[in-house]
């Protein structure tokens, strides 16, 4: 895994974020390279980043170390971008179904927790309202596991009517 991808994954936990940030990185570098003849300076980069990114992406890109932008020119950019995209495609991804769309902060915490607890490098978060009260996850052997309000009620099927019948 290249140094640039390692740096990128250090603060990126989902597939959507990874692809969006790679696209931002390439866009910013292309704008700087093809508008400035010389190697861009850090001040110029920050100005372009501020133009291209917003929200949490803006904060993260501004915080990226200088190695993310070093050694790039018009001849090497295309190859470096293709290499980065290809390497990103090899990162293992775990599909996680959530009932609602979480806030960015909560997504980061959950992803960091998954990375720490279960060594899950990257999450593909999808929304399914049916998994309210828990989540669903596609495991490595292509099996689906879910624990939610629905599964809990299904496990205790008939208990409600038994209780109702006991009062009748």
């Amino acid at each position: 895994m290249s140094e640039r991808l390692t740096l990128l994954l250090a603060t990126t936990y989902t597939v959507n974020d990874l692809h969006r940030r790679i696209a931002l990185w390439r866009s910013i570098v292309e704008k700087v390279i093809y508008t400035e003849e010389s190697v861009p300076e850090v001040g110029e980069l920050k100005r372009v980043i501020a133009e291209q990114a917003t929200g949490i992406d803006l904060e993260l890109l501004l915080a990226w170390p200088e190695e993310m932008w070093r050694g790039l020119n018009s001849q090497s950019l295309i190859a470096e971008a293709a290499k980065l995209t290809a390497e990103a495609a090899t990162v293992p991804v775990t599909v996680l179904y959530l009932p609602v769309s979480l806030e960015a902060k909560d997504v980061s915490e959950l992803a960091q927790w998954c990375r720490t607890e279960y060594r899950i490098p990257l999450l593909d978060i999808r929304i399914n309202p049916q998994v309210i009260g828990g989540c669903g996850v596609v495991l490595g052997n292509a099996t689906y596991y879910e624990q939610s309000l629905h599964t809990l009620l299904s496990q205790r099927s008939g208990e409600i009517t038994k209780i109702i019948n006991s009062y009748v």
Binding site: L102, Y118, V137, Y145, H150
Partner: protein, 261 residues
Amino acid sequence: MNTLPFFELMIGILFGLVVAMIILLLLQVRSNRHISQLTFPAYEYVIKRTEHEADEIIKKAQAEARSIITAAETEARTQAARHVVEIKEAEAMYATELKQYYAEAASAITKNQTEGIATIQALQNDIAVAIKSQESNLRTAADRAKTAWDHITTQLAAVAQTQTEAITTDLQTLSKDLVNSVNSAKAAHAQAISDQISASMSRIESELVAYQKGRQAVLDEHIEKLVESVTAEVLHHSLTSADHAALARASLNSARAKHLI
């Protein structure tokens, strides 16, 4: 018949006299011409004499012709009277013969009628005799038929009595068999109905239990869906993003507890 040749003869004679007179006139004219040229006085005398002779001849011829005509008329009347007589005689003869023929024919018819009546009478007698003979035969045959009929009636009565008794016996046996068969069938049907009712009741009870289970399952599913939908609605509105994240972590921990991760 005999008058026709007579008239023709008379006409021929008259025609011959006329021709002869014409010839004489022509000869006299010719003679007078020659005589007058030679000797007129002689000629005149000859003419007078010839005329006198011619007149005499003509008178004689006329008288002869009248006599011939008179004779012819007389002959014709005679012939006609004779024909009338002959016709009357023939009619009288024919009338006599016809009367005789009629008499003979009547006699023959009377004779034939008498003979026919006699023949018919004989035939009637023969037919009467034959009818009497046939009547006698028919009476004999009728007597025989009546005897046979009485015999057959007696035989039939005997056979009917025998058959009636046999049929009665068979019917009694058959009715007993039928009663036994009906009783057996009734018992078998009662048993079959009882078995059928038992099987039906058992099937109904099992179906009732299955129906109760099905209804119970439907009710459970309905209640669970109701509770789930209400709870999900409440959770969607009441839980924060951090709460959902915490529940997701709890779910993942349960997977690890089951050794799935």
